[in-house]
């Protein structure tokens, strides 16, 4: 048995002898390490989760405003648009080379506090979240007719809507809006699977539907159009139009497609082209990330309208830095909790020094050097900290598993169980370092006692 083995054996027996006090100390250490690791883990998860609120979108284009404003508006749907993007600009943007797709977003309406978003069907295939995960339908499918709506997961569960239910959308965010669009009931065509992003809290309708709501009572024309819209024939038109347009542009560099436009205009006789006068923002997909800045500059320097293009990742990071102070405070508090529990460990060891004076005398009388006594004390506290850390890690893993089974279905949130991230390992290292530092005081005390054994014994 080596020297270390001896210390370890004696230390573990000693801890078992003082079990109740030791268990309390272990519990306090475990709890504080649990809080610290938990906060740190959730902090990182929140950051990555936040950063992946939207992915697969290269640029977000909106009327010129602050970058974070545009992000809040287009992704989190917080605030109201001070200016919009005209449909002409959207079309010009779409014609830009390097632009592969655009998904317009128009918002402003709400349904029982949940925001209604006008967009195109492409939204459901283009918009990605997390690690490029697509939006999936839990039930049903995308809206096809004007009077159809797709519900975010949370909207469906909270308001208890089923597929095929009909609901009324009102104007503005307030629940008690006076201007209910009673004339236009929407039927639920699809319910999205939970994503853990703001998508869960939104209702999606076609751009035309937003337009129809805003201009209700304006003309009989629309009513007629709506009826017409519901025909499959019409949808055929829409698709046809989009494709042809696109091809024409690319092939002929915007010369001959003029004719095509005129043909369409005639065909649709003044209703849904443009489907809406203005949109709030446009999500843009590019052919290559290298061209991002190029397109951004084109948008920022766009002459006809004051526009702004933001990179969602960059803007999300900026926004996170604004919110980040809160997590720093949280982290600070958990560090304080840890320090207080380590001080508790220190206090327990110091208090036990009085009764251990005899023990140290005995150890010295059988030839144990002071270093043995000091390391005995240090090993004891490190054992307490280690058991506490192991308990904390295990209970954190258990909590994450429990939370995941609880939240995954409701909120679509999955917390990673990879709690031993580099920063958490650093945290553990720091915990041990602090524990050692905190133990130095009782260890020093033990050293003094052990050196004074001869004189102290003789003093009585």
């Amino acid at each position: 048995m080596g020297s270390f083995g001896t210390v370890l054996l004696v230390a573990s027996r000693s801890l078992r002898y003082r079990l109740s006090g030791v268990l309390l100390t272990i519990a306090s250490v475990a709890l504080s390490v649990f809080v610290l690791l938990g906060v740190e883990h959730v902090r990182q998860e929140a950051r990555t989760g936040f950063a992946s609120t939207v992915s697969g979108v290269d640029l977000i284009v909106g009327a010129r405003t602050g970058e974070i404003n545009l992000l809040l508006l287009s992704i989190f749907r917080i605030g109201t648009a001070t200016a919009n993007v005209s449909w002409e600009s959207v079309e010009q943007l779409e014609q830009q080379k390097n632009v592969v797709w655009t998904v317009p977003i128009s918002l402003g309406d709400s349904h029982r506090s949940f925001r209604v978003i006008g967009t195109t069907e492409a939204f459901f295939t283009r918009y990605k979240y997390g690690a490029k995960q697509s939006i999936t339908f839990q039930q049903g499918q995308s809206f096809e007719a004007v009077a159809e709506v797709v519900l975010g997961a949370r909207v469906a569960t909270e308001l208890g809507y089923q597929l095929g239910d009909s609901l009324v959308l009102s104007h503005g965010m307030a629940d008690t809006s006076f201007s209910h669009h009673d004339q236009l009931p929407f039927s639920v065509s699809g319910i999205l699977a939970a994503t853990g992003t703001p998508i869960d809290n939104a209702l999606f309708v076609g751009l035309e539907a937003i337009e129809a709501m805003h201009s209700d009572g304006e003309s009989e024309d629309h009513r007629g159009h709506n009826d017409h819209d519901e025909h499959d024939e019409h949808d055929g038109h829409d698709e046809h139009e989009e494709h042809e347009d696109h091809d024409a542009h690319e092939d002929h560099d915007g010369h001959e497609d003029h004719d095509a436009h005129e043909v369409h205009d005639e065909h649709h006789a003044g209703h849904d082209h443009p489907p809406i006068g203005t949109v709030t923002a446009v999500l843009v997909g590019l052919n290559s990330p290298i061209t991002t800045l190029q397109v951004k500059r084109w948008v920022d320097e766009f002459a006809d309208e004051a526009l702004l293009a933001i990179l969602p990742g960059v803007a999300l990071t900026q926004l996170w830095e604004l919110v980040g102070n809160v997590e720093a405070i949280l982290l600070g508090i958990s560090i304080l909790i840890l320090v207080s529990s380590l001080l508790g460990l220190n206090a327990m060891l110091l208090a036990s020094m009085r009764e251990r004076r005899r023990e140290i005398e005995v150890l010295r009388s059988i030839g144990a050097p002071s270093s043995f006594i000091v390391s005995l004390l240090m090993i004891e506290s490190l054992l307490i900290v280690s058991v506490g850390v192991v308990l904390a890690v295990l209970s954190l893993l258990a909590s994450i598993t429990a939370a995941n089974t609880l939240f995954a279905e409701t909120f679509g949130l999955m917390i990673s169980s990879q709690i031993l991230s580099p920063s958490n390992i650093t945290a553990l290292g720091l915990i041990y370092l602090t524990a050692i530092l905190v133990t130095l005081l009782p260890a020093l005390q033990a050293y003094r006692v052990s050196r004074a054994v001869g004189t102290a014994a003789a003093a009585d």
């Binding site: 002898y17 005995v362 010295r364 059988i366 144990a368 050097p369 050196r451 003789a458």
Partner: protein, 235 residues
């Protein structure tokens, strides 16, 4: 009874030469011993009232403290001039110490207490387990109690384990400080008888300190600390 054979070839168990000890901060020394010698295998009874400095002397002999002045040789080694670590090793290997009470680590079993001493002594761990068990049997500690925590043993049992613990490394000098003060009369006599019985086949000198002159009868030599110590008693 052992025959004491003073021999010039073998150094004395204890040899003091003009030894003085003063506590740090004190003006007057508590111990001043011009000369004292304990031969190998000699069993000395050192009698003195409490406060007479006998515990201080014992801690000097054990190398737990060092004299302020003078020579102190234990088993021929000048332990006063050793480093602390050297003294720890020397103590572990050559000396056995038995206190009045609290001789054992309370949370270790009787056997482990003995084995821990072996760990710091010169005895190898392999043989010492067997030797410890044999010695524990010799002091009438039944096998069933060997694994019992020291705190769960009676005072008498603890003191008997302490003898074994002190003897496990076959020391050449046994220092015993009032080991019977916590025992009743019958247990005290039994303890002393046992101590001499166990020591009979060991080549080991002993200094037995007590305030009770009645215990001294069976020792080779009886010394009064007041005769040794020339320091003026402060109290």
């Amino acid at each position: 009874m052992l025959i004491v054979t003073p021999s010039d070839s073998i150094a004395a168990a204890i040899s003091l030469d003009r030894l003085a000890f003063r506590y740090p901060g004190d003006q007057m020394p508590v111990l001043e011993i011009p000369a004292w010698r304990v031969e190998r295998n000699e069993h000395v009874f050192l009698q003195g009232a409490s406060g007479s400095g006998k515990s201080t002397l014992l801690s000097l002999l054990a190398g737990l403290s060092v004299p302020t002045a003078g020579g102190l040789q234990i088993l021929g080694d000048d332990i006063a001039n050793m480093s602390t670590r050297q003294r720890d090793r020397f103590r572990g290997a050559n000396l056995g110490v038995v206190f009045q009470q609290f001789n054992l680590i309370p949370y270790l079993s009787a056997l482990d207490n003995v084995l821990l001493a072996a760990r710091f002594g010169s005895a190898g761990m392999s043989g010492s387990r067997q030797r410890a068990a044999t010695l524990l049997e010799r002091v009438n500690l039944p096998l069933a109690l060997h694994q019992r925590a020291a705190s769960a043993l009676s005072i008498g049992q603890q003191q008997r384990v302490a003898i074994v613990r002190a003897l496990i490394n076959t020391p050449s000098l046994l220092l015993v400080d009032e080991p019977t003060s916590a025992l009743d009369h019958a247990n005290r006599d039994a303890f002393l008888a046992l101590l001499f019985e166990v020591l009979a086949d060991q080549n080991c000198a002993m200094v037995f300190v007590s305030h009770d002159p009645g215990l001294g009868a069976s020792f080779d030599t009886q010394v009064k600390i007041d005769e040794l110590n020339h320091a003026v008693a402060v109290n």
